[in-house]
Amino acid sequence: MANKALSEITGLLNQTQDTRLATPTVNLISVLLLITVVLGLSCGVASFIFGHEAIYNNTREVPWGMLIATYAFWAITSTGLCIYAAISHLFGGTRMGIVSNRMVWMSIVCIIGAFATIGVEIASPHRMIIYNVLSPNPTSNIWWMGTLYGLAVGCMIVEFFGILTGMARIAVILGTAGAIAEVLANSCLGGVFATLPGRPYWYGGQLPIYFLTAAFLSGAAATIFFNWLAYKIRRQEMSEAVHNGLKSAGKAMTLVLVLYTVATFWRLIMYFVGGEELGRIAAAALINGPLSLNFWGLEIGIGLILPLLLIILSRMNNMGMLALAGLLILVGQFVARYDLVVAGLLVPTNLGWDNVPTYLAYVPSKYEFGVIIGSISLVFFGFLMGERVFGTVFDQKEHH
């Protein structure tokens, strides 16, 4: 029985693997990435040995930092990829359908990157596994977010199995369920921050929509970048259908880029027309405070303006340029998540007392950087493994 199942799986993988990538270079890069994953995530595992409080630079006043930002970044990117894939699978007809299988896989990989990061950030994840089930709090955004992302990844894994085995019906149903769970989870992730009146920089109804917009932006950017990379590592030209699919993703990315820029503009303006002082000071951290280089240089310059210029220059035709725009957007989005998390906590709640500085100091520790490098490597390792093991499934000839 077990032998039969094993031989069936081996048979399936023999069909799905892409032997073009069975090269020494790909193997070497895979091994190097795997080493970085292990080393990086070991930095996080070290927190359980030496104590989270000892190796991460989070404090009582700044309880969250770069790890939460990274988690949010991967989770948001996963949502984006999942939504585009589900739209293509469900409604068909969209040109992006041709690359949707790869998007499903990358959505799973990104959410695993997110889970790996938050798994070493949370002090007692073993209690989470037990008490999320035994003692759920339905008013908690964190509870809903965790549960829904868990549900989403379950759906997507079954969906992917459906894709591999050619069970299109299962793939479409589970893909749709997964996408709905991802959207709701993303909304709850926004809600985690948006529903805290004690943190006026986060508080407000705009943030969940902002997060969803970010998902559409990161999702399109990741679609273009990883598909371009998939063809680059094979040294193969894209077919016209794939090219057109990525052009569609490029259009979506441009549209959302504009929407996201508008949302960012108004989001910041609002703090300077009234409202709470703590929110205004936090926003000023981005405008001309300790996060201004991040904000103007990376979030706006590298993450929004430069990609827009590249998109215009590429005329949606130069895929290399479009992929670079996608990569820069992802970099900008990562920094944007960092700025959002940190700015919300940087202003002390006892400002005016105890001679506290206007902005508290938070610089991520080398362990935190280690975890980040580990999670990025994990996503790239996942990408490469996907291409190697399921490559022929990603090479969709036409939309089913």
């Binding site: 008490y131 003692s135 805290l196 006892n350």
Partner: protein
């Protein structure tokens, strides 16, 4: 149209109304009641009645609006504080608050202000505000922190705490810390498991204060000192960060 003429018209009755119109009317009724029902069903707090004089200028809960059998609160007579920090030490000892990593349950903040060349030094004791609408309780994924149903005190169940630190981010008062000994989030619990459990009527910080700054008691007991101080019309009472809507139960006044 003339009203007199209209009155002469014969009533058409509802029999002639097309069923589509009837459906529309019913749908409107359902929609209106649905909105109201939905609104009350989705309200996320369970202690709505403890809102106090929300629309007045008082931060003190209105009489008879305390949802707990005992409604423990604390009043700081702020100007009496001399920053001796005996409260901080007593709390640390009684509640085994570890040293380092920003661990404290109560603290004294200070501020120096100069007006007309006169410098004033102010001290402000702070601790968990045991809010009626506690943001920390709402956000906890595993109900590791909750309002004690008997006292209204915000307490911790350490074994359920996953250490996500959302309650720390949610607290408007920086009242929570990561207890690296318990490996869980910790906070002031008005000595519920120490002094109150032993039968004392006050907390460690109250007992240790030589200046009688802190007044602790049950707001439901109208003969209690805290009740009377809070409801004395001459006393100007305030709370910290009222704008967050957390409805805190730690009050401040000048003695």
């Amino acid at each position: 149209m003339n009203i007199d003429d209209l009155e002469k018209e014969k009533n058409e009755g509802v029999e002639t109304l097309p069923s589509e119109e009837r459906r529309k009317f019913l749908k409107m009724g359902l929609a209106v009641t649905g909105v109201f029902l939905g609104g009350s069903a989705l309200t996320l707090t369970s202690v709505q009645q403890a809102q106090g004089n929300r629309f007045g200028d008082s931060v003190v809960p209105a009489d008879g609006q305390y949802p707990y059998p005992k409604h423990y609160s604390m009043l700081m007579r702020q100007n009496l504080c001399i920053d001796c920090e005996k409260c901080v030490d007593a709390c640390r000892e009684t509640n085994h608050v570890p040293e380092g990593h920003g661990a404290w349950r109560t603290s004294i903040q200070e501020r120096e202000t100069t007006v007309n060349n006169i410098t004033t030094l102010e001290f402000r004791p702070v601790l968990c505000n045991h809010c009626n609408r506690p943001p920390c309780v709402r956000v906890c994924p595993t109900k590791a922190t909750y309002k004690d149903p008997k006292t209204g005190i915000v307490v911790m169940n350490y074994k359920k705490c996953i250490g996500c630190k959302t309650c720390m981010a949610a607290c408007p008062y920086n009242a929570r810390y990561f207890n690296h000994h318990k490996y869980a989030i910790d906070k002031c619990n008005f000595c519920i498991d120490t002094r109150l459990a032993e039968g004392h009527k006050d907390t460690a910080c109250v007992a240790a204060c030589p200046a009688d700054v802190r007044v602790f008691g049950d707001l439901k007991d109208t003969s209690s000192r805290i009740y009377n101080l809070l409801h004395e019309p001459e006393n100007k009472i305030w709370v910290l960060r009222p704008e967050t809507g957390a409805l805190p139960n730690v009050f401040y006044m000048k003695a």
